[in-house]
């Protein structure tokens, strides 16, 4: 639904104001078009900012061949939500007080935003954020993944992420001995 609507809007906008647009059109790998405000795109993505500044934005839809439509929809959705949210100050993580370059905790809406994603969609979004140089979105998605890992044993982590253990028993034993300081039973 939203995809089509976005496409419709995109065509409309192109007709109305060919020059001097305040949005950019992005094209996913499967050819779907999405509109996003130029201001938000430039602010949240270093790659898009570079393209806008360098004039390499295509009014008929800038090709982003690496990003599928679902991920791009989430990127655009994030940009729009980010533009509407009131940035709250002082959300700096206080858990590590001596870390003076702190990771900024995700805000409530950002948490909700990544929480509703499916497993695959989350990883698609990480890759899209990385590709587009969207630092904040990458922080938020990485934070979500870190929460999925936190407090889990290697076995549990393998299960959550479906990681195949390709070590031999001997190799594993060797590592555990080498890193005995990190492996002990609590």
């Amino acid at each position: 639904m939203e995809v089509d609507k976005g496409k419709g809007e995109a065509e409309e906008t192109r007709k109305v104001a060919e020059a001097d647009r305040d949005t950019v059109t992005l094209k996913s790998s499967d050819g779907k078009l999405f509109e996003v405000s130029k201001e938000a795109a430039a602010r949240l993505s270093t790659v898009l900012a570079g393209m806008i500044a360098g004039g390499s934005i295509d009014d008929n839809g800038t090709d982003l061949k690496q990003i599928g439509s679902e991920a791009l929809e989430n990127v655009v959705d994030y940009c729009n939500k980010h533009a509407n949210s009131i940035p709250s100050a002082a959300l700096i993580s206080s858990s590590i007080s001596f870390n003076t370059a702190p990771f900024k905790e995700p805000e409530e809406w950002e948490r909700k935003f990544v929480d509703r994603l499916s497993h695959d969609a989350l990883f698609d979004l990480v890759e899209a954020a990385n590709f587009l140089g969207m630092e904040r979105l990458l922080d938020v998605t990485c934070h979500k993944i870190s929460e999925m890992m936190k407090g889990k044993s290697p076995d549990q982590i393998r299960e959550v992420f479906n990681i195949k253990n390709d070590y031999t028993k001997e190799e594993l034993e060797e590592i555990r001995q080498e890193l005995a300081w990190a492996f002990y039973d609590d």
């Binding site: 639904m1 939203e2 995809v3 439509s69 679902e70 929809e73 858990s95 590590i96 001596f98 870390n99 003076t100 370059a101 990771f103 948490r111 929480d115 509703r116 994603l117 499916s118 497993h119 695959d120 989350l122 990883f123 990480v126 890759e127 990385n130 990458l138 990485c142 934070h143 979500k144 993944i145 870190s146 929460e147 890992m149 936190k150 407090g151 889990k152 044993s153 290697p154 549990q156 982590i157 393998r158 299960e159 959550v160 992420f161 479906n162 990681i163 195949k164 253990n165 390709d166 070590y167 594993l172 590592i175 555990r176 890193l179 005995a180 300081w181 990190a182 492996f183 002990y184 609590d186």
Partner: protein
């Protein structure tokens, strides 16, 4: 929406959440396909030990942890679980892991809380410093809490106490808290990136030559220097074009301090000259950009020249340092701390923390010997208020007729004990109390903090301020906790205040 109908992935704050395993069998391994950079970004958000343990997940993960950009090695009850056992082994393991990988580390933090005892803290600190010398490009912080490592107590066990600091060419912020370790500064090499250095608890055996040399000649970018409870530092020379802030606290053996710093804006000297203040202590200050000075110390006897200080200081805080009885040898009674006021002609805000002496003669000589700079704002902190503060502040105001804003901070009273006043006590100087000759014409705003409505506070407001300060526009009274103003007091306040003067409380 496109994702409707799929099983949503909920947050997993507790381990073993059933939701984690929803349709695991049908999923691809997406996380292992992520680039190392992204994996690092994820792993720095989980406890370090858990990040290390990811090496057994699969071959892909084996060395990922050895290239994390942020290393937080934290032992103690405040550290996130899982709990680190045998911290020294832990450090060794980490350093071994990193010795193979030729990568930079942004920040290295070694943190040992007070409930953890480590066996060879010097070796541990040295290992961290040597890793940092090669790899760290940002912050290096080593904090060994006093109870986990105190070389004054551990030295007896034949323990090595010498920490030879390597040069840290790429570190931008260095902080070391390590009680009693004998710190030797490197003889060569430039701390080319260092902008701040914080040393606490360490001791020097070269009287301070090494640290003076490093800061003055080999830290071209240093902006902040903090030295706290450092022992064995007799002579400190800081010649720096970049230094902005200098803080010396509890450097109790200091005898000679020379600071030549064109950009220095803020300086704190707290309890450094107390032992040697009366003897041969000397100080030279060339700081034309100085804005704020907090002086909580005795004044060195010798104030050598040529001095260079700004014409007007933004803020000057002068406090008498109160020593425990056993340390207060010789210089008892009159301390010379107020001589520091002689150095400044004009100050925008002057904060004085002056003791209220018990006998009148002492108080009189203390105040009359004060050379108070021209200051439009005076903040006065009344300490030891077993006696009345009024006469003291009146004397101060008589000496400085240009104060426009006056704030007085009362200290909580010790009401339980009655201390009888001597015949020459300040409290009995009624003549001063009612002195009409006090010129308070420029005074515009009076603020009193911790007001408890005692007799002398009330009298001060009624007789001194409201009667004499004709241009007063504002009186602010902040009552101390639990004190309610009486109606009588408020009525009188309004009655006495001039028209156009706002009273707030």
């Amino acid at each position: 929406m496109a994702h409707d109908g799929r099983v949503s992935f909920t947050t997993t704050r507790s381990s073993g959440d059933a939701d984690d395993r929803d349709d695991a069998s049908r999923r691809d391994d997406r996380i292992s396909d992520l680039s190392d950079n992204i994996l690092h970004q994820i792993l720095v958000l989980i406890p370090f030990l858990e990040a290390v343990r990811t090496c057994v997940l699969s071959r892909r993960w084996r060395g990922v942890w050895t290239r994390l950009p942020l290393l937080i090695l934290h032992a103690g009850e405040d550290a996130p679980p899982p709990r680190v056992r045998r911290f020294a082994d832990h450090m060794d393991g980490v350093l071994r892991g990193y010795s193979d990988a030729n990568v930079d580390v942004d920040n290295l933090f070694v943190w040992v809380d007070s409930d953890t005892v480590i066996t060879n803290p010097v070796r541990l600190a040295a290992a961290a410093a040597h890793l940092a010398a090669r790899r760290v490009t940002g912050r290096l912080a080593i904090f060994l809490s006093p109870t986990s490592a105190d070389m004054y107590h551990m030295a007896g066990d034949g323990e090595a106490v010498l920490l030879q600091l390597p040069c840290l060419p790429r570190v931008t912020h260095f902080s070391l808290t390590f009680i009693g370790v004998h710190l030797e500064m490197p003889m060569a090499g430039t701390f080319a990136s260092l902008t701040s250095m914080y040393l606490a608890g360490v001791r020097f055996t070269d009287d301070g030559e090494g640290i003076s040399d490093v800061v003055s000649s080999r830290c071209p970018r240093i902006k902040i220097l903090d030295l706290l409870t450092v022992r064995g530092l007799r002579t400190l020379t800081v010649v720096s074009r970049s230094l902005v802030s200098l803080r010396l606290c509890g450097v109790m053996e200091l005898e000679r301090l020379r600071v030549v710093a064109a950009e220095l804006g803020e300086m704190v000297v707290d309890t450094c000259f107390v032992l040697n203040g009366g003897a041969g202590a000397a100080m030279l200050l060339v700081a034309p950009a100085l804005e704020k000075l907090r002086w909580e110390d005795r004044c060195p006897r010798e104030l050598g020249g040529p001095w260079k200080l700004p014409g007007c200081l933004l803020k000057l805080v002068v406090t008498e340092v109160v020593l425990p009885e056993r340390l207060d040898n010789g210089a008892r009674g009159q301390s010379n701390f107020t001589r520091i006021l002689d150095l400044f002609q004009r100050v925008h805000i002057l904060r004085l923390h002056v003791p209220i002496a018990r006998d009148h003669a002492n108080q009189k000589s203390l105040i009359e010997n004060l050379n108070i700079p021209y200051c439009p704002e005076l903040e006065f902190i009344a300490s030891h208020t077993k006696h009345k503060f009024g006469p003291t502040i009146i004397r101060l105001l008589k000496r400085n007729i240009c104060v426009r804003k006056l704030s007085i901070q009362m200290s909580p009273k010790e009401q339980a004990r009655y201390i009888p006043c001597a015949s020459d006590c300040n409290c009995r100087q009624v003549t001063i109390w009612r002195d009409k000759g006090v010129n308070l014409i420029p005074l515009e705003w009076v603020i009193m903090y911790e007001f408890s409505g005692s007799h002398d506070e009330n009298s001060f407001i009624y007789y001194i301020i409201l009667r004499n300060a004709k241009a007063l526009r504002r009186v602010s009274i902040v009552f101390s906790a639990g004190v309610e103003p009486t109606r009588r007091f408020l009525r009188k306040l309004h009655k006495l205040s001039a028209p156009g003067c706002a009273v707030e409380y």
